[in-house]
Symmetry: C2
Subunit: 291 residues, 2 copies
């Protein structure tokens, strides 16, 4: 593992370690407990009221407990039924709305659209979590994982100065035994150290980071097509120049400091990406590719 920093898997040395990077503080907490886990979206026990309510209403919708006219009861009656205020009901409904389960429109009852369309924030960041949520067996083979100086471009991507140390990981990812994706990830050194401490064959890096107390707050995913280069050809077994579906993942902590930057290239026909937008809020952007 890297030069400085504490153990991650076992007893941790420090309660917190923060480091400065060009003026911003990297937010990085080492937990004492091994299993305490990060802040995964727990819609069960530890969640607050409106989250539990959202989960409960989700189940009620799936079970068809709101009748079969395809409409939800009014907010007022839901509030009474569940013994909470209307504000809390609206908070819960906003969550279902954001996931595309129900509509909302002034003047009429909410309409039930369907069930579960999007994935949790964590499943989006983690190939392993994603594969498991699909009932597939995720696999990984680490080609290399090393610390080196950042190039100018990489420095910009992680908001570091060129020449600062970064951790550079190249991994081939599988579904079952079939290679589907080649992942090129760089981490700032403070985050990378936690990754390097993992066993070489460990599956989920982001999962381990999350469990180590690294707080993922925002992510940005850019999707386009890229022609396979020599490395892609060698490891994915495709023809030179094949169009690969590329997902560039960027994740930041709550202060906006970059936690990882990754270029993931999928073989054609293995994945697709779906975004849900509502007129109120949209999160997708179509961009012109640079010429």
């Amino acid at each position: 593992m890297g030069a400085r920093g504490g153990t991650v898997g076992g007893q941790s040395v420090e309660k917190r370690s923060s480091a400065r990077q060009r003026g911003t503080t990297v937010y990085l907490v080492w937990m004492v407990s091994e299993t305490a886990g990060g802040n995964g979206k727990r819609s069960g026990a530890g969640a607050v009221r409106y989250q539990k309510l959202a989960a409960e209403m989700r189940r009620a919708i799936e079970a068809g407990k709101f009748g079969n006219d395809g409409r939800l009861p009014s907010e007022e009656s839901l509030a009474e039924q569940y013994g909470v205020s209307r504000g809390t009901v609206r908070n819960a409904l906003a969550q279902l709305r954001a996931n595309g389960l129900v509509t909302s429109r002034r003047g009429t009852r909410r309409v039930i659209l369907g069930t579960a369309r999007t994935q949790s924030f964590h499943e989006l960041l983690s190939f392993t979590s994603w594969a498991r949520s699909l009932g597939e067996e995720p696999g990984a083979r680490t080609i290399h994982a090393r610390v080196r100086a950042a190039t100018a471009v990489e420095g910009e991507r992680l908001q570091l100065d060129p020449g600062d140390d970064i951790t550079d990981v190249l991994r081939l990812r599988f579904l079952g035994r079939v290679p589907v994706m080649l992942e090129r990830t760089i981490y700032p050194l403070q985050v990378g150290e936690a990754v390097e401490a993992l066993a070489p064959d460990s599956l989920s890096h982001t999962g381990a980071l999350d469990a180590s107390g690294v707080v993922f707050a925002d992510s940005e995913h850019t999707i386009d097509i890229v022609a396979a280069d020599a490395t892609d050809v060698r490891l994915l077994g495709c023809a030179e120049g094949t169009g690969l579906l590329r997902e560039v993942r960027r994740a930041t902590d709550p202060t906006g400091a970059p936690l990882l930057w990754s270029d993931d290239r999928f073989l054609p026909g293995t994945v697709s990406f779906t975004v849900h937008n509502s007129a109120a809020v949209s999160s997708l952007a179509r961009r012109r590719a640079p010429r």
Copy 2:
């Protein structure tokens, strides 16, 4: 144009026309005024308080009026400063948060991340609006536009019965004079009639629909790679089997009734798609492609 329905461009005949489709009512309002425009996101005059506030804070952020420590004032002081309640401030901030402009984290001030990352809901649906927002000159050539019976698959996509009439449009889209995308769109007949009424060379179909009072409420965008077929080769001028970036757009009205279904194929290197997610809400889903 089709059999029944009123004029769209000029004086409209009916104030509202709704039709039944397998149990659900299509929500479709014909405006009397020509220019009254749909419900485009007006963050200016007609908007409610928190939307105006969001727009105002957005400008304030861009102008650097909150100091240069990269943090926002507290919600309490913003409420006082703008003369509104904290709830309204939070509503406005939620909008900025959803667009990735600011972070939020219990215990500390909000951090300013950047400016304007995503596009409006309408720009996502409309190639024309999107191109213009980029300063590019959008173009379109209609290959065909006709009414025909829906296949089983198409019926399912538009929640119609197989054999019901649909409007089928094939258009080649340009940026400047360069063809970049081939668009295969189907509309339910009631919506399609408005499209057919347009001049053959009119640019923005979704824009015209929006202006005609068709209310777009939700959309879903699925992105993957598809091999170019004979039609793609002929119109886009690419080689047979080239990997094209495909965006499947689906849009529904506030009741969840489908308004359009479109298969758009972009030449490689012309566009990319970016999604912003926060730990609180995610709208992206990665899916396994069917085998």
